[in-house]
Assembly symmetry: D2
Homo-oligomer: 334 residues x 4
């Protein structure tokens, strides 16, 4: 069985997913949709798929699944629409910037018995999976403290920041999902600190560029997330987990595995600088896992509920900064 895909949106992330589909056995890229003709054309040229409208993809018999890579404010509507059309849906995070809207959307998916996977690419990174596997194998005993260091090489364009919902909903949201994955227990309380340190303009747009968050579960497990929008040395993505018997960590990935030495000392190249090169394998694995879940009719590895929880944590973090206090997740999700 081969899953025939339509990709909605031929922007940067749409191209990442088109490439992933092309590389995954059991998946075929059948159609691309994008209002910008040149963008759609470039995907067609590369992968030989059709160019169609979203309406045509919705109505097509030869499409089994769609990957939603359109602007965030269209995600929830498209999920509902394709769920009702009986297509499996892979949606880039987030489902929506509003917890209420996500909850409504998931209700529709539920009522239509839709198949929905929300893309949290890091869950499919080989190193992070090796880390999780070591923990599952009991190598470090019970998980106690998690530290996630996640720094972008540079801030996105101002136009993007304005519409992103802020650093917690745009950037930290990935780390909130990783935190839930690594903690192995739901978060109960959230507290956060936020500053503008790299560019005052980000502050003028109402956002922050440097944040620390502490999460705590009912049994007292804690997770610290450290985010910044500027790491000159590359895309810094580390996870460290302390357990009752030991600790486990996943290290960064460099441009090349070499070292130079001279009178100044020892030098290694910067980190991979871009999420697409850093997480190439993760994007392919993610689509492969989606295809496998469709084929085997098993549960999606990352669900709409995961998308909802990560967003709620983002809201809680922002509320914590605004009110200078610890916020319970139940205040957000009532």
């Amino acid at each position: 069985m081969t899953v025939k895909f339509g990709v909605l949106g031929a922007g940067r992330i749409g191209q990442v997913h088109a490439s992933a589909i092309a590389s995954v056995p059991g998946a075929t890229l059948t159609a691309i949709a994008d209002p910008v003709a040149a963008a759609a054309k470039s995907v067609q040229d590369k992968y030989g798929c059709d160019i169609r409208t979203i309406d045509a993809i919705e109505a097509a018999d030869d499409i089994d699944a769609v990957v939603i890579c359109t602007p965030t404010d269209t995600h929830a509507d498209l999920i509902e629409r394709f769920a009702r059309a009986g297509k499996a849906v892979f949606c880039e995070k987030p489902v929506d910037l509003s917890v209420r809207r996500v909850q409504e959307c998931l209700k529709v998916v539920d009522e239509t018995k839709g198949r929905l996977m929300v893309g949290f690419n890091r869950r499919f990174d080989p190193d992070f999976n090796a880390l999780r596997a070591a923990i599952d194998a009991g190598k470090i005993g019970d998980v106690e403290m998690v530290t996630i260091t996640s720094r972008d090489p540079g801030a996105p364009p101002y136009a993007y920041i304005e519409r992103s919902g802020g650093i917690f909903r745009d950037m930290t949201i990935h780390d909130f999902d990783v935190a839930r994955w690594m903690l192995g227990e739901e978060v109960e309380t959230v507290q956060a600190a936020a500053s503008v340190l790299t560019d005052p303009k980000i502050g003028e747009l109402g956002d922050y560029d440097s944040v620390n968050v502490i999460l705590k579960t009912a049994s007292g497990r804690q997770c610290v997330i450290t985010n910044t929008r500027r790491a000159t040395y590359g895309y810094d993505q580390r996870i460290e987990v302390l357990g009752s018997k030991g600790a486990a960590s996943a290290e960064n990935t460099r441009e090349a595995n070499i070292e130079l030495a001279d009178a100044e000392g020892f030098h290694r190249p910067p980190l991979l600088n871009f999420f697409m090169t850093r997480y190439t394998a993760a994007y392919a694995n993610e689509i492969a896992a989606f295809v496998a879940a469709l084929r085997d009719k098993t549960e999606m590895p990352t669900t709409g509920q995961d998308g909802l929880m990560a967003l709620a944590l983002a809201d809680a973090a922002l509320k914590s900064v605004d009110e200078a206090r610890v916020v319970r997740l139940s205040e957000i999700l009532d």
Copy 2:
């Protein structure tokens, strides 16, 4: 000129300082005082110094300086007494567990024009100094975010925990001082989370064993401190500083600099497991810096004020946990 020392207290830390004095040029161990005769005797046997009472050391003409290594609740009284006696004083942290009492004590030191150094050994660690020097040399631009990972191999005895003032005042206090040193700006707000994860008995004694703290300065610089009382792999002491132009980190120190490889993979020895072996050089450097400040009549490298600030941060962290909110340092120091 040689500084002639009396050491008050021949316990574990007293012996560390006696050894440091013996190894530092320009310093002589003249007398040891301890109510436990055997303890005092063992120092005498090793370094050939006199055994005297605290009163005798206070009155002695041949003593220039004392190192206070007695139980915490005697520190402030002894500082005042020896400041009045005209002796230079090196006091192990903390001056006292009460911010008020520390403030009174520092007033006496001030009035008597006493010379007081409060021992924060980490400021004298060679690696941490190389880190600070790199920052001072502009290698990473302006400091933005600091991460301090500080984990003990195991918890102290219950009897110690009962009297220690709690993990923030006993253990995190070192990290608060390092944070101030690395941030290069005073902390304005404190928030913390605390759990009991390694031993429920610690919770019964009213303390925590696993904490995360976020500090923030007026300009928005942040520091995260991660503490736990149990790291099976050794005494974990790391500092990481992110700046506008780059990042700098100080790594752990291992038992030996070797690596083994076999069918299971690659293996390196655990970390040095004990503060005395990990910070041997720091303890010697600390006494050397005290001696140099006395000789050169310069400012003490770590002052009573440093002791006060670290304690106030500990109080703020505890208040933050108790009240589940961000606490301003000014609430503690009025």
Copy 3:
């Protein structure tokens, strides 16, 4: 322009190249040939190519190039045959185990103006290329001393060893090529030591399993190659180059980039254990370079002459062991 490939031989290495061809833009796998029907069928099933005889591939108009993955003793004949047929040839090392036979074969290629690339996959490894690029960029000044550590996880089957021409011609041959690449100057003298340490049966077959070789160029540059047939911790592939201004090294690749810590110390996974996973990128890059040279009508990146030189170095090393003396390369190549 797309290069249409026939692959001769559907064994392990034939499958590696088939996979590489499938992944390289501008290359198509048109036909596979193998006397073992099941082997050919498995390639056909995976990549949808034709199954043909070698004769049919030789005669085919729709084949531009062949990849020779047949047993070593057929290489030279097939190269000559396909050169005469006007097909471009990519041949797995070695061209032949006899220097004379290689020289004759290259003469035929020359006379027919044939395009021949001899596969030395390591020249296409991303890390080794980054190393070479750093040297070319002058980062370490003039090359002086090269150290190549190259250890297989385990010995090949006895049947293979019997026909391989011995460790120098089968295994070290790759390192001889890397040495020439890194030294940047032809080798003048060779000396070697050889032992049987991992399995006496290897000695009974007339081969060695543990060798060290020293190469020296006219200007005095030196290279040490260390080989063993058994490294329990994985496929150990390191290069280190010392220059007048510094040093450069390429490190190993691990199964995963994680570290575990416990009371025994710190643990990282073994190295990638198999040449196909270790050099996956190199195999794809190698075919891409072959395709690019055909398309751009430029010189082959690794030539028949490279194959000849590496083989001559192997012969010199063996002669050095046999005669317990330094051997000049000119003794082999007259």
Copy 4:
């Protein structure tokens, strides 16, 4: 019991040993001898010992042991003289540059039942000892292949090179001793390559600056030694041992254990640059081991025989270079 020491020679290495004696419990520096008054005076000022002539030290009742730090060509005579005088002798390597002369000297030591330790400081380095201990504990099975990388930051003065006996006898001699220690079996054959790459003047003086040596034992164990006189990044001292079950390595020691990151990549400080700082602990441990052997009347940890064997290996290496062939150690020692 305290061993009372006379140190012969107050040059650089004499001062290293004086400092080591001062730091070792059970050892006292009683007298220093040096024809250069200022040199002797500087040791006296630092450690408060007597200044005496060599004759006076020989005749003194209050001297138990001497450390010979005079020029190499006086070593053998002084060893014989002090052995006859009934003093224990610690002699810096080498005993002499002539194998014959060393053999005569050791005969005298033997006849007088003298106690002689020849200083091979690396055997007392904590990391190398941890490596040897891991091998002894069976962590890597049977030793098969050893790789010693040993590079000096820079060449010694020309005047020193002229009298040093050449790189094999002056520099590699340490590595020959380490090789014997790590191989755990005597060397049977030696082959070497030598070049002048860093400074033509070294060649004019009849010496080499860049050498590789292969040693082989009767059972086929091999060791490669790589030496150069110029490593811009510091004093490069690494040992790597491959065994039947795994591998073990000892890494270099850096100036500080920190790392900086910026847009160029990741940077660590150079290696410790000087044998005295790199091997500070080894020098102290070496004297402590000498004192312990005297006190416990046990065998010396490094003997005159060790000195002889290392020198013979150096002679064999030089002969191998001169004659372009493998040399048996028995040719040197007959």
